[in-house]
Amino acid sequence: MNKMGALAIRQIRKTFGQTEILKGIDIEIEAGEFLILVGPSGCGKSTLLNMIAGLEQPTSGRIEIGDRDVTELPSRDRDIAMVFQSYALYPNMNVAQNIAFALEMRKVAKAEREAAVKRVAAMLQIEHLLDRRPAQLSGGQRQRVAMGRALARNPRLFLFDEPLSNLDAKLRVEMRAEIKLLHQRTRTTTVYVTHDQVEAMTLGDRIAVMKDGQVQQFGTPDEIYERPANRFVAEFVGSPAMNFFARPEQPGVQIGLRPEHLELGAPGEGLKGQVLMLEPTGPETYLKLDTPLGVLTARVAGRTLHQVGDAVGLRWAPERAHQFDGASGRRID
């Protein structure tokens, strides 16, 4: 596999009238990588995806796919496939026709189209649905067909626009795993937009955390989680969210501490705390603790023997504490 950049986004800007939607985005990934664009709604991630797809034009900047500059190319010449949030299956065609449509538009011979439909249907286990119309399918089945439609023609780039947001929680987890498996098998370069940090962490090779039209941090899931570049990223990734507090001896600095790094000990050791609330999830329990530094969340494995109202002592390893500039929110190393 070539190690050339599979997708490069260079200084992309987009303005609508006075508002700047994207303020100079730079992202580059290699062939076969799974890129996540994640951020709260309105951060510009969907706009960026549409630009990669060729459905919207940037005000300035360049987009390269493989080694081609595609900024001015229409969608159909970019060799990409996209799975939409609503799936956008053609209601007037059955599943097989939906999957074959892109090949038909590209004048692929009938026998070859049928072979492709067969291959994709087997891969996604939807062989028994090929004659059905989209209206006769369940949410999960539609999702599969949408992926099949994208897979059928072996695109150079796969785009996903919040594909799991219309599914219920259980199905979402299942389909998330399927998307990951599929990517491991096909190794097609993928760009995936989501607002869900769990999807971002579980699926991505690279994650671009976005906010207000800017990339806050671009890195691997580990880098994002272990070394968040600023307070926004630190807060956005991880559940329960990171604790933040200030210490009198470090003015102007915000300390960030993940709940799993807050250690509970006997009362009198370390920081004084009192249990406010327990949230058992089964495999682990979250404790809300009242401390002189504010309310903090701790996360412990399994169940806890602590009761509401118990006094505890709190400690953490100094190297686990992240430090952020109080004013700018930037990470301090």
Binding site: S75, R76, S86, L89, Y90, P91, M105
Partner: protein, 285 residues
């Protein structure tokens, strides 16, 4: 008889029956009169059933009643209307669909303004265009011809058909169009393969709407037609207004029914699609 629901049912059906009677009586009078002879009409009551029903009046209205100086019945006018209505309905519907597709799915700078301007056409009184249109038809060499009438009806119908299709297509998800674009389909392929197959309800509504309007039009027909291109509405008017010694009400009624028959048939055949199409929202799935 003690149950309240039954009583309300009776009242309901009574009201519906009375309304039906009210609306159907004129039709009955026309039909009955058209089947009677003139003698029977003079003597009997308007509401009486025909004693010896016959189609003599229908035959006369169709082929030998006088319209002005010609005495060839409605037949030539009816054929004129047919020759006019088919291309006029087909063209105005096809162009409306295309306009609606562009104005809802291929917006461009100014397309909303264009649509708003087109809407003026829906509310513009027909009389306003009479003079300029006859001027234009003259320049085009289409004055007093059926082609000219077709052109006028296509142009007059476009704002309405565009509005119908534009609003219907606005309910089609944009992602469908985007998906097709990514799949490699172009403007016409998307229209033909995705949009048109989803248009059946609005297509039926528009076809019925246009057929009824164009078939029943009198004003454009009387103004822009020549001696050989008058539509059936004008023929009917001439037939009923041609004065002879006696007024043949049975022939007038038969002629009116002949002129109204095509629209009636269209409603009977496609009426349920009409109601369904008017109330249908976006496409599911």
């Amino acid at each position: 008889m003690s149950k309240a629901p039954k009583l309300s049912r009776i009242a309901l059906f009574l009201a519906l029956g009375l309304l039906a009677l009210f609306f159907l009586t004129p039709l009955y009078v026309m039909l009955a009169a058209s089947l009677k002879s003139m003698d029977e009409l003079r003597e009997g009551s308007l509401l009486a059933l025909p004693q010896a029903p016959g189609f003599a009046a229908w035959a006369k209205a169709w082929s030998s009643a006088c319209t002005g100086t010609d005495c060839g019945g409605l037949q030539p006018f009816f054929l004129n209307s047919l020759v006019m209505v088919v291309p006029a309905v087909a063209l105005s519907t096809a162009l409306g669909a295309l306009n609606g597709y562009v104005l809802s799915k291929w917006r461009f700078r100014g397309s909303e303004v264009l649509f708003a301007l087109m809407l003026f056409g829906v509310f513009m009184p027909m009389q306003v265009v009479l003079l300029p249109m006859s001027q234009v038809l003259g320049w085009l060499g289409l004055a007093s011809s059926i082609s000219g009438l077709v052109l006028v009806h296509v142009i007059a119908g476009l704002p309405g058909t565009t509005l119908f299709f534009r609003n219907y297509y606005a309910g089609l998800p944009d992602e469908l169009i985007r998906a097709a674009m990514l799949d490699g389909a172009g403007f016409w392929q998307i229209f033909r393969r995705i949009v048109l197959p989803l248009s059946t309800p609005i297509l039926v509504v528009t076809l019925i709407w246009q057929f009824t309007n164009i078939w029943n039009d009198f004003l454009y027909g009387v103004v822009f037609s020549g001696a050989d291109s008058k539509p059936v509405t004008v023929g009917l008017n001439n037939l009923a207004n041609t004065s002879s010694s006696v007024k043949e009400y049975n022939v007038d009624m038969a002629a009116a029914l002949i002129a109204a028959l095509p629209t009636l048939i269209v409603y009977v055949l496609a009426g349920k699609y009409f109601v369904r199409g008017l109330t249908a929202g976006a496409v599911k799935g």
